[in-house]
Structures are given as C-alpha cells and as structure tokens.
Amino acid sequence: MKRGRIAFQGAIHEVTQAADGRVELADGRLLNEAEVNWLPPVIPGAVFALGLNYADHAKELAFKAPEVPLAFLKGPNTIVGHRAKTRRPADATYMHYECELAVVIGKSGYQVSKAEAMEMVAGYTVANDYAIRDYLENYYRPNLRVKNRDGCTPLGPWLVDAADVPNPMALKLTTRVNGKTTQQGTTSDMIFDIATLIEYLTSFMTLNPGDIILTGTPEGLADVKAGDVIETEVEGVCCLINTIVDDETYFATV
C-alpha cells in the first residue's frame, strides 16, 4: 500500500493511493494529487543521509569511495513534502538535486545484525537531497549550511510498504529537470546497501520508528535554476516533484 499525508480542508489527513492514482481519504473522498497540499509522508525522527554512497558519484566529485559509511544528519526544518517550492538563494552559483531512495524505519533496534536489518524497515519513499555547493566548508562536511537549509530536502509523496518493494537493491533512480532526464542510476550500485547501513548505525545508536535513511545518489548532478521543475523518481516507489524559486518568490508576501 502507498500511504501519504496531506493538509486538506483545514485538517491533516492520512491518505492512500487509489487504483486510478488519485488520493483517497479515509472516508472515501477522492482527490487529484496535483490539487492537495502534500506533507512529508512520515513525521521525521532522526534523518540520516549518506554521502558518496554510489561509486560513480564519488568519482564525479573526485573522492575515492569511503571505507565506512559517510553518514550525516538533517533536522526537521529541511524536510518538505511533494510539490513544495525550494529556494535557490540569489548568491548561489551551483545548486544541484540528488535523487535518493529513502528508507523509513518501522521499529526500534540497537545492535541489529545485517541478517535481521531489513525487518526494521517500514517502507520506502523518495528524497531530493538538494545541495548548494557554494556553501561547502571542510568542517563536518557536508556541512549544515549546504545540507540542512529550510525546505531543501523534499520527501514523498508516498510511503510504500516494505512488503510491496521486494528488492529495494535493484530499483532505477531517475531525475528529470523540466522533463529532460539528467540523472539515472540504480540502487544496485550502492556501496553500502540498506542492511549494512542499518547494521552500522545501530552498532552505536538506537534507530526508532520514523527515523529515515537517505541512501545516497548516483552520478548525474546538474545546476538547477529558479523556475525549474525537478522530478526525482525511484522505480516502484514514487515520483517526487519540486519547483525551484528565487528569493523574491520565496519571501514574497501573498
């Protein structure tokens, strides 16, 4: 099943995807997915992201692949839902998307072995882990000013039950900018797979329901400008749409 969260008619609703692709409320009302206000499909707990977890991307950034997972954390301020608008600051010269498979944790676990790790997964969604490279600094890199900006990590629209994604390690990732494909890859190219990431993180900390792991992005980065519509899609999971806006639009009084 695909589950989402929307704001509609003054309330927050947990919704599902109907057979025809529309958004179905618990009472049976059917809505066009382009007409509702999407929230992130889960209220985020600890949000981890992986740097350089695809060998081709590591090469693209001129880094050798890491020997232990390069994980960093994000705050809830950066997470926004499907069809949100993300700000490109006026002084940015290179802002790129990153299409990522997002793993949502469904139960608590500490020191979970790789063999049992996948039982921790509630489901999957899609993240677009934007980065503004102008702000990169070599302190706890990638630093928060690059990766934890307000609204810079769209997530959703759907949380797909783990049972409906039989092989999460063989899914195509695609990014389209204004309809043109700019990034393609497959989760089979991850350096550290999902089970290994869960084993690694739980070797020193407890993962809890609602925690999310953004598993990294393959090569194919490109600069995005105000007005660009970015679709990040993971095969069999969902397609996440986001629009880039400039400062004037973002801060405009409406």
Binding site: L73, N77, Y135, N138, Y139, R141, M205
Partner: protein, 214 residues
C-alpha cells in the same frame, strides 16, 4: 518556573571559542580544512542521545573514554528564523547545561556520527532561566577533580550572534536547543567516572560513565 521543555532537535557547534581555535592552530589553514570556518561549524545530536541528570551513559563497544564537552544550550521558546542581534535572545526561553559526549576525535573534517551520536551521548539538565551568559564560567569535574573551566567570554560568536548566523539558513523551532560550543579535544572521562558540570547561578548536571573504574 520554565514551561519550555527540550522537545525538538539539538544542534551544536565546534570551534566557537578562541581557546579551541588556538589549540587546533595552523591546521585550520592546511588540508583538509583549507581555511578557518566561515559559517558556524555545526553538528546535530538526535533524540537518542538525550538523557537526564543522573543518567549512566554506556559508550559503544570498544570505547575506552569519552570526551566531555561541557556547554550551555539555548532552548528556543518559539520558532525563529532570520534573527538579528537585537531580537535573537528574545527567542530563547531558557538554558540547559549539557555534557556533549564524544568518542575522542581530533578531526572535524567529516561528520562524526558514530563519535557524537551514540545513545546517551547528551546528558542535559532541566531548563533553567536565561541568565547573562557573557561571562558565565562552566566547570567540569571528573570524580571530584576540576578538569576544565571555561568562560563564555571566550566565545567567537556570542549566543546572539550564533543565533543570527544559524537562523540565517535554518528555522529553529520551539523546544529546539542550540549548544553554544564545546572545547576542542575536551577532557576525557573513563569507565566508572562520575562527571559534574556546573555554572554559578545556573546549577549543575551530573552523570556517570558505565563500567568498572580502571
């Protein structure tokens, strides 16, 4: 009586005191840093790290000692973004004393999740009233012996400026905490240690590190 709880995210910053900047020294100009930080050098302590006064902390397997980064956290009373120096402290509902524990690491180059985010690695006090932090002295004692005293007069960015520079790119929500900085290579506590962090006029925070004393 402070009504605000620590309910949100905890953010911290390194290299925010002149003593730490001096200690790391010329390394800041060399690889991998290639220059002193411009924005606050931040990290996140997720919810699993938070424990209350009196806790016993179990460091991860293989860890012999933990660094005790004694600091103060600013507890946000309301959502705040794009603050300026004049209004920054109005957003603060109170403060906490914090023992930001890390597995010893001398490099700030890569995010230190294992080192800084193990369960229990952030003992924090209850929320206390905001006092004048300009000259607040934070004392760390391990097994009754003073191992560090630091004054917030030595901060590179004072609390107001830190709030300004952090909230420039991220919204702090009610109940979030911004730690004002920890010492580079702070004193270490081994298994079985009793740790006390205190500041005059604020109170104290106590916790212990699990295991038999070596």
């Amino acid at each position: 009586m402070i009504k605000q709880n620590v309910s949100g995210s905890v953010y911290g910053v390194v290299l925010n005191d002149h003593a730490s900047v001096r200690k790391i020294g010329d390394a800041l100009e060399a690889a991998p840093y290639k220059g002193a930080p411009k924005a606050p050098a931040m990290y996140i302590k997720p919810a699993n790290t938070r424990v209350a006064c009196g806790a016993t902390v179990n460091p991860p397997k293989g860890a012999k000692t933990v660094e005790v980064g004694a600091t103060v956290g600013l507890v946000m009373g309301h959502a705040a973004a794009r603050l300026n120096r004049a209004n920054a402290l109005d957003a603060v509902a109170g403060i906490v004393l914090a023992g930001d524990l890390s597995l010893p690491h001398d490099s700030y180059y890569r995010p230190a999740i294992r080192e800084k985010c193990f369960d229990g690695s952030l003992p924090i006090s209850s929320v206390k009233p905001l006092v004048d932090l300009a000259n607040l002295v934070i004392t760390t004692e391990i097994d009754g012996k003073v191992v560090e005293q630091r004054s917030l007069a030595d901060l590179v960015r004072d609390p107001a400026q830190l709030l300004v520079d952090v909230s420039e790119f991220m919204t702090l929500s009610q109940g979030d905490v911004l730690l004002v900085g920890v010492s580079y290579m702070a004193p270490q506590a081994g298994a079985g240690s009793q740790v006390k962090i205190s500041a005059e006029g604020v109170g104290s925070l106590q916790f212990s590190i699990a295991g038999a004393q070596a």
